[in-house]
């Protein structure tokens, strides 16, 4: 016996979730197995579809942010995941996403990219952003005040404000660095702040004990001036960020927003939790904690895959499979001194013979390694060395797919959603 389903999705990031939800919508019985937590927990929580033109476009248009990502889809080079699955899948993936997160995210009202200020003071073109970041958009003309905390590294409010001014945002922006009330240790964990604010625990300030949200607002108020909106690093609660923001806004008499941060990222963690809740609501069976390590094939069909539960080997069977194990960071693609490889199915990954050709000279050049991944056909089936589908019932989605550079294009989550939608729908319909 094995554990049996119609569709088995391997992975635990945006791509896997989108695949599982899409497959589930076709009525298939779906299981998702993920090894570790996804890169989502380190990502900003922004859902980028296409922020900059991919390789192939001329240099000038590559430096300007894209305002209409859908309009730019036609220009992606052959082999790029968006070219493989087409605009319909990009829209399908975003629809899945919007349904899954509901009003916790904004941006779905328009095809155009929003411009979201980030922790470094850059402005990022993105398709969907957390509701908590909404009051911070760079297209909004209200003056903004940014608050940083000494102990929260990775966000220097003054520097971020300087950068934003230099970027020419259409409003005045100032920053100040304060001490978080209650004297937490200097390297207190992000979750410690979030927990304090969620629970609104009493904290000691000047010998007086008062609720955390109130104490924080009090401290910020003294610096506020006439600013109409206040940006905090993204530490404002984990379980109920909306409540924390509302309370702070009330006490401050100003709108409150969160500035997306680098890893580790609370918005990324909240998103990951929401997506897993959506899986549960949709009736997808989810197992996390063990890697899939092996495959048993029957001709050109995957018959079963083997997961390693600590040291025991457990077989899983399905009609259709989706591989959504991520790229080099997610461990869906691995490398050693000899080669870059896909560890479960050993799918071929095009790569220069000589590993010194994996990189270009300059840090910001087009590095081949950034686009490493499995090539897929238009049904997202990974191709073998002869450009034929490696298995008729295996599809791939997300960062394990090659042919795009998510960091340069700002397309990470968008590609995961689009390929996840295509792979999941295809798998579900054939299961």
């Amino acid at each position: 016996m094995a554990i049996e389903d119609d569709v088995l999705v391997i992975g635990g990031g945006v791509a896997a979730v989108a695949s599982a939800l899409a497959a589930r919508e076709t009525g298939a019985r779906v299981r998702l197995i993920a090894h570790k937590q996804s890169t989502l927990r380190q990502a900003s929580g922004l859902i980028d579809v296409l922020g900059y033109h991919p390789e192939g476009a001329d240099d000038e248009s590559r430096t300007a942010p894209i305002s209409d990502p859908f309009g730019a889809l036609d220009a992606v080079p052959e082999g790029h995941p968006y070219e493989r699955v087409g605009e319909e899948a990009v829209r399908g993936g975003l629809d899945l996403f919007d349904d899954a997160v509901g009003d916790a995210y904004a941006g779905g009202h328009t095809d155009r990219n929003a411009l979201v200020p980030t922790h470094g003071g850059t402005v990022k073109p993105t398709a969907r952003y957390p509701a908590g970041a909404a009051a911070g958009l760079a297209s909004d003309e209200r003056d903004a005040f940014l608050v940083g905390f000494d102990a929260v590294t990775g966000f220097d409010a003054d520097v971020a404000a300087d950068h934003l001014r230099a970027a020419g945002v259409p409003f005045d922006v100032r920053g100040a660095t304060l001490r978080f009330p209650g004297d937490l240790r200097d390297d207190a964990k992000l979750t410690r702040y979030a927990h304090l604010l969620d629970q609104n625990d009493e904290i000691e300030v000047d010998g007086q004990s008062r609720p955390a949200r109130e104490a924080l607002a009090e401290r910020v108020k003294a610096h506020l001036g006439g600013h109409e909106r206040v940006g905090f690093p993204a530490i404002l609660g984990d379980a109920e960020p909306a409540g924390v923001r509302a309370d702070l806004a009330d006490s401050l008499g100003a709108d409150v927003f969160e500035v997306p941060m680098g890893p580790p990222s609370l918005p990324g963690m909240r998103l990951s939790d929401m997506l897993f809740e959506a899986l549960e609501d949709a009736g997808v069976h989810v197992e996390t904690g063990n890697p899939v390590v092996d495959v048993e094939a029957d001709g050109d069909r995957v018959d079963r895959v083997i997961a390693e539960h600590t040291a025991t080997r457990v077989p899983y069977r399905a009609e259709q499979y989706v591989l959504a194990t991520g790229g080099l960071v997610g461990k869906g693609i691995r490398s050693d001194r000899e080669r870059v490889y896909e560890p479960i199915f050993d799918l071929p990954i095009p790569q220069p013979e000589d590993r010194y050709d994996w990189f270009e000279e300059g840090a910001f050049d087009d590095h081949p390694f950034a686009r490493f991944g499995v090539p897929v056909d238009r049904e997202t089936r990974p191709l073998d060395a002869d450009d034929e589908p490696a298995y008729e019932n295996l599809r791939a989605a997300g960062a394990v797919v090659g042919g795009y550079d998510f960091a340069a294009e700002k397309s990470g989550s968008g590609v995961s959603l689009a390929t996840g939608y295509a792979a999941g729908t295809g798998a579900g319909e054939r299961a």
Partner: protein, 447 residues
Amino acid sequence: MSDAETPDDYDVTDDSPAATGDDEFEPVQVFPESEDMDLRPGSDDCYKCSTCDTNCPVAEVDDDFPGPKFQGPEQWRLKRKDDHDIDDSVMKCSNCMRCDSACPSEVPLSQMHNTARGSFVENQMDKLSPEYIRNRILSNYRTSAWLASKVPRLSNFMMNFGPARWVMEKTLGVTAERDFPEFAEQTFREWWVERGGAQVENPDKRVAYFHGCYSNYNTPEVGKAMVEVFEEFGYEVMVPDQGCSGTPMFANGMLDDARRHAETNVENLVAAIGEGADVIASCTSCSLSLRQEYPELFDIHGIEDVSEHTYEALEYLRIHEDLEGELDGSEVDFPDLAYHAPCHARNQGLDGQAIEVVDRIDGVEAEDVGDSCSGISGTYGWKAEKYDLSMEIGEEMFEHMEDAEGDVGMTECPTCAMQMGHGTGYEIRHPLEVLEAALVSEDTSSA
């Protein structure tokens, strides 16, 4: 399993020159096993993303705890260079192992914590301190339970007798806030002997039941359910002699104690495996210990064999039987359940299965109360200085339990069950009891 290499000829707890083959044993050497148990690859894999820190339930509530990234790879690196002491904060880690499953880079965090704690206790802790004595008593629960089970009624009375609890709190730091678990009138093993051992013989389908301390002394109904369900599927159940799985000992850095028990367990389980059995546990911390912590920490002949043959009970049936087919159409009258997945089930990838299985049975509704930690983490929540933190960690789970439809809890872990009961007043059941009601009991009431 971690990337780190396991020791090949000695374990971390036996520091005698003969055992180490190293006659220049350096008593303050940190991680004394480091030449043989090379955690370096694991440590080098850390790229400081801090995902582990954001998953640590203790760091979330305790401002003095620097978190898993420091306890694991950073401290490990630091200690290799200088002959620093191990930071005493390592004793605040509850060994929930959440950091372990979180790390995207497969850094063997819990293995690092376990070895660091072992070394801290061995080299830096005062063996006469109340804390050491308390930890030793708590982690050797099996010994106390064995004694107590001889006179269960008296023990039940004494253990929760006010003045005695007051003394325990004041002198030993065992919180008086909690009720000690009740000892059963008849232990599981006594029941096993009384019924005449196995009632199914089957050379082709055999399992060796690792019941652990708790289902032996405190909840024999779980052990009985396990036996009856497996016999229903035609398995011959063996019940080898056994000690403690070691879980509470790892968490308290008592690696010598743990090793002693591990030796007994491995020897007896290897013998059972030799007779064709797989090893089954009903407690997820026990199965995790046998599967993962044993080979990570000890080198005992046959230990890998035990690791490779160990399963959690439901998991085993899902793999080897058509459990769903059997359950489809079954009907029981069981109260609605609020299910909490123990951290150690999560670590084995078993966090979703109880709900999935129970969902097939008509007449039971089980709802997952979310992925927070229960907060008790074995002996952690029994320590007077940790009690409040433990309840703060558990708060989210309590709230979700109250929100859930059912007024009865369900979990695989005995200490999580204690915490769930303590925080909500609910009665707590084990998934195997639900299976027994669906598959075995003639009388399908919730008895």
